[in-house]
Amino acid sequence: MSLRDALTGRHKVKGPAPDRLFALSTAYVALETEHQVTACGVAGIVFQPLATSDFESIVSDMEAVVKATASDLGASIETHDDSFGYRWMVIRDPSLEDLVVAVNGVSSALVGGGYGERVLCAVFAFQGPRDPKIYFIYNYKRGSWYPFVPTAGGASAGQRSVERELQIKAQVGRELPVEPELERWFPLWGIPF
């Protein structure tokens, strides 16, 4: 934010940053072969549903398209509204590559409709040899990734293992553009998968 924006109190919500979503496909190779972290075959994209007529039509159009392609590939898609008023599109597909493509399809449809600034993040679920769930979260505003590891049984209590997250950062840091500022590694509680 520039001095001028601060003085005039003008504030625009950022749209998506340059796309680094596909970096996950590359990083996954190393994750799987070297660190035994495997994809759970499910991913979600989170956005703010606006209560406007054209937004709803864009979302339902997009849902139809993604559903059509998803059923061709043997994938499924569902939507959840969480208690904070955000909408999750949850996509299940055994191939991580296809998941990334599907998530990108959803965000592109929103950007194309002029609602790019409503897209929050995408979440991909993984599991490790000792971790029941490792989430990789893609922050659309910054075009960066960060790991999020709720501790076993701690997801409801709001407990995360920062140590494990930092280890994972060290493991994938070279392939994946990881968010440098730790205070922006926002947890997401109540992930519906």
Partner: protein, 327 residues
């Protein structure tokens, strides 16, 4: 919009552009237009404030009365105000920083807003009082603290609380604490001169040196005028910052009407809840609240820090209309 936007998206925008080529096309890229009028009024007020302070400085130098000393004292006060005011304010308010385990909903709400607004996470504090209110302090995004009362947490629905928190985060984004501190700085100096001036000025005046006595009287008079004028201007600046924060909240959440509902709820219950604690704490803090504590039946005029509720609701309803019509 990023240059990497997919081709489909670009085509759609071009299509819109040709359909409604009325000069507002650039603004359609986001869900809301710009409020140029508000920004112009705000800049105008800042300009007038600056002008008033320039006159003050000119008179001070013309009088030559301890200019250097004044600047040293003033500078020291200014730094204290800028760097310690947030801690002092939090302490006087009785605010307590809360962890994610203590207030999971508040934390999660703010975390999602930070993701959306591209902000680092602020510290989060709670004041234990039934009065529903919220405020933000801190001179930068990194040092910001967002504070809510237990009353507001109990009163509002999640979407309404989100709107209020987005309002406070917009104060952080807009650096309103720094701007109001800077704006109030010379007013503080002027009031200091008026106070000390009466004190010392009387002695000088009787001392027989008419010239010096007159000079000091002039300085006092000008300082008093500066204080009066800058006070009014600052209050109006504060009101414009409130409008800007309401607007920012609507832009971040995409739900102007949720914030409007929250404002109605807060100001409605404000009158019913006994209001000794928050208002007694510090009247200077009033500018940072979401709704001023004394708003029950306050006369909204030149001297209030917040715009009247009706004006804020009208501005939010204009935003909702813009959003719905897709302009």
């Amino acid at each position: 919009m990023t240059p990497e936007a997919p081709i489909g998206g670009r085509r759609r925008r071009l299509y819109r552009k040709s359909v409604c080529d009325n000069g507002f096309v650039a603004a359609r890229r986001t869900s809301f237009g710009r409020d140029t009028g508000l920004q112009a009024r705000m800049l105008g007020t800042m300009f007038l404030l600056g002008l008033v302070y320039a006159v003050l400085i000119a008179v001070l130098f013309a009088a030559g009365a301890g200019g250097v000393l004044l600047i040293v004292i003033g500078g020291g006060l200014f730094l204290v105000q800028l760097f310690a005011s947030d801690k002092i304010a939090l302490r006087t308010m009785g605010a307590r920083e809360v962890s994610a385990q203590e207030e999971p909903l508040l934390h999660a709400t703010i975390e999602r807003l930070c993701l959306q607004a591209d902000l680092p996470k602020p510290r989060i504090a709670v004041v234990d009082t039934r009065m529903p209110n919220a405020f933000a302090i801190g001179r930068s995004q990194k040092t910001a603290t967002v504070c809510a009362t237990t009353g507001i947490l109990a009163l509002l629905e999640p979407a309404e609380l989100e709107g209020v928190m987005a309002h406070e985060l917009t104060h952080v984004i807009n650096r309103d604490v720094v701007i109001m501190t800077v704006a109030s700085f010379f007013a503080a100096i002027a009031s200091m001169i008026v106070q000390f001036g009466f004190f010392f000025g009387g002695g000088f005046g009787g001392g027989g040196n008419d010239d010096e006595g007159n000079d000091i009287l002039v300085v006092i008079a000008v300082s008093a005028a500066v204080y009066a004028v800058s006070f009014v201007l600052m209050q109006s600046l504060s009101r414009y910052r409130e409008f800007a924060a309401d607007r920012g909240a609507a832009v971040i959440t995409g739900r102007p009407s949720a914030l409007a509902a929250a404002l109605v709820k807060i100001s409605g219950s404000m009158g019913r809840v006994p209001q000794q604690d928050l208002r007694a704490a510090s009247s200077e803090m009033a500018a940072f609240y979401i709704v001023p504590p004394a708003a029950k039946r306050a006369v909204h005029n030149l001297f209030s820090t917040h715009p009247p509720l009706e004006a804020r609701l009208a501005a939010l309803s204009r935003l909702e209309t813009q959003l719905q019509s897709g302009r």
